[in-house]
């Protein structure tokens, strides 16, 4: 297979995938050099939704940057909220009430499920199955209803504040969440029967787009992509933050490194997220959701700070540089898919077009997060 694609004298042509193409989940453009249906070279071209987040970070106060974090990765907005408040709280030395931390975990994990569900649907859509997308959306709507009842938005949540949350939850949310856990647990087997065990899907994903652990390390890939390659790395476990150490969950790891492994990691993660949410609901303490001593105007001490959280797609790192004023001096957003996508060029070489698209789908791209 590969020797065909590599021989130098082949007649190749350039196929421009995107910037508007159904498979690129937004506006990524991939310049493919093809020999027939084999890919000789793939070069992602980024920047079609570059929205200047880092520049905006230097123009707004610390609090005002909050809504931007939600628009970086609109599928897992709360993870990004969380990462941002975490690093600022760390710089300011703010204590967060326990209830707030538990609620952060509950909402962030619900958001992660929503993100994975959407990925699941969109991935199967890439592979040509339309129906699972709508089943996933159906479940996702329930999560969005829950989150909307708490945060007021469906997608671009702006819920966390430095030192806590902007709102407490009510009982309806708690019972609703429990009901949702029950519902999703009942529906997951259907997903597996309909999709995971489907022979067509297995044939398309098994041994397709194999990424080695070493390659992931070289490119800095994180999240389910890395865990699909057999590396047990999850910021929630390795660098415990929030109340994750008090919750019992596993990090699914598959060692095959193919698209199927990445698929399985995410599907298993949904299970684990449900476990986390359930435990957090059980342990949810009473109390305030906002720290008492939060200064009106935030001015972190001069210096730089780094914080990382496990977002749905991998490690979201945020480096802030403060010069001691109420406006950040520099804000660097390290988005996981930026690194995850950077290995695409090498990984897709020699693949067939549909396999390359399966690989791209399995990386779970959210383009605005890459372009920032």
């Amino acid at each position: 297979m590969n020797d065909l694609a590599r021989s130098p004298n082949q007649e190749t042509f350039v196929l421009n995938l995107g910037p508007q193409h159904p498979a690129t989940h937004g506006v990524l453009r991939v310049k493919l050099t093809m020999d027939g249906e084999y890919i000789v070279d793939a070069e992602p071209v980024l920047g079609y939704v570059h929205r200047m987040h880092e520049k905006m970070g230097e123009n707004r106060t610390w609090v005002q940057f909050m809504p931007n974090t939600a628009r970086l990765d609109y599928l897992g907005a709360l993870s990004y909220n969380h990462g941002y408040v975490k690093v600022v709280e760390q710089a300011m030395g703010l204590e967060v009430p326990e209830r707030a931390e538990y609620l952060r975990v509950i909402t962030v994990e619900l958001n992660r499920i929503a993100s994975h569900l959407l990925w699941f649907g969109a991935f199967v859509l890439d592979l040509g199955g339309f129906t699972p997308l709508l089943y996933a959306f159906d479940d996702r709507e329930h999560i969005l209803d829950l989150l909307e009842s708490v945060t007021g938005s469906r997608l671009t949540f702006c819920y966390y504040r430095f030192g806590g949350l902007c709102n407490d939850v009510d009982d309806d949310f708690l019972t609703g969440t429990r009901a949702f856990i029950k519902r999703l647990r009942k529906r997951l087997p259907d997903y597996h029967n309909l999709v995971t065990k489907n022979i067509i899907l297995i044939n398309r994903l098994k041994d397709v787009g194999v990424l080695s652990a070493e390659m992931c390390r070289k490119y800095g890939a994180t999240g389910p992509v890395l865990r699909g390659s057999g590396v047990d790395y999850d910021v929630r476990k390795n660098e415990p933050y929030s109340v994750y150490p008090e919750l019992d969950f596993e990090v699914p790891v598959y060692s095959e490194g193919d698209s199927m492994a990445r698929y399985m990691v995410r599907m298993d993660e949904i299970d684990q997220c449900l476990r986390i949410v359930e435990q957090a609901l059980d342990k949810l303490p009473e109390g305030p959701v906002m720290a008492e001593k939060v200064p009106k105007i935030l001015k972190p001490a001069a210096g730089d700070y780094y914080g990382a959280v496990e977002a749905a797609r991998g490690t979201f790192g945020i480096r802030i540089v403060s010069d001691g004023t109420n406006i950040p001096y520099r804000m660097k957003l390290r988005s996981p898919t930026f690194s995850n996508l950077s290995l695409y060029g090498e990984a897709s070489r020699g693949l067939l077009l549909p396999d390359a698209l399966a690989l791209m789908g399995s990386l779970d791209l959210v383009i605005p997060e890459i372009d920032r």
């Binding site: 200047m52 230097e58 760390q90 030395g93 070289k218 001490a301 790192g317 480096r319 001691g324 660097k332």
Partner: protein
């Protein structure tokens, strides 16, 4: 791990190696090297099993770089405004610098984040690329070049990554005006 690393770094003739408070800073070791040592540092960390999480730049136009103060904890404990005043009083005329920051991390369960930073003359920001060694650095360096105009010598393609193909501006420079 940390002490071991420190001794390894000593061989690179770093400008500063500072152990930082992870709880506040979010990383363990802050190393400053000269531009000629960036690749050596990358090689060292790569050999020890680190991966490159991100590369970024900071433009210190008309300011003295902050970031690796000797004791961030003590700085934090002080009145922040006093610290700021002190920082400014420390030197009279700030030399315009451009800083490149490399974040390294590990995935094998050992919690150790290393920051390697390199300060360059803002008038001529050039340093060697590490993308030959760590392919993942490729895009990060291109992005840093996009935003700051920092030139990574030896990089195979520094054309704009996030900005339009014909962009000739560097928006994150502090003197950038649209």
């Amino acid at each position: 791990m940390l002490s071991e690393l420190k001794s390894e770094f000593a061989s690179l003739a770093p400008l500063a190696v500072i152990e930082t408070d992870y709880k506040v800073k979010g990383y363990h070791l802050d190393v400053e090297v000269g531009p000629d040592r960036v690749v050596d540092a990358a090689e060292l960390l790569d050999r020890l099993g680190f991966f490159l999480e991100a590369i970024t730049g900071v433009d210190w136009l008309g300011k003295n770089p902050v970031g690796n103060q000797p004791d961030p904890v003590s700085v934090n404990e002080q009145d922040p405004e006093a610290a700021e005043a002190e920082g400014e009083a420390g030197s009279d005329a700030p030399a315009d610098k451009m800083e490149v920051v490399y974040d390294y991390n590990r995935t094998d369960g050992v919690l150790c984040r290393v920051v390697v930073r390199c300060r360059l003359d803002r008038a001529k920001p050039e340093l060697p690329t590490v993308s030959r060694l760590i392919p993942g650095a490729d895009w990060h360096e291109r992005e840093t070049h996009d935003f700051f105009g920092i030139i990574f010598t030896g990089h195979h393609d520094l054309s704009p990554l996030l900005l339009p193909e014909d962009a000739d501006f560097h928006p994150l420079r502090k003197d950038f005006k649209a």
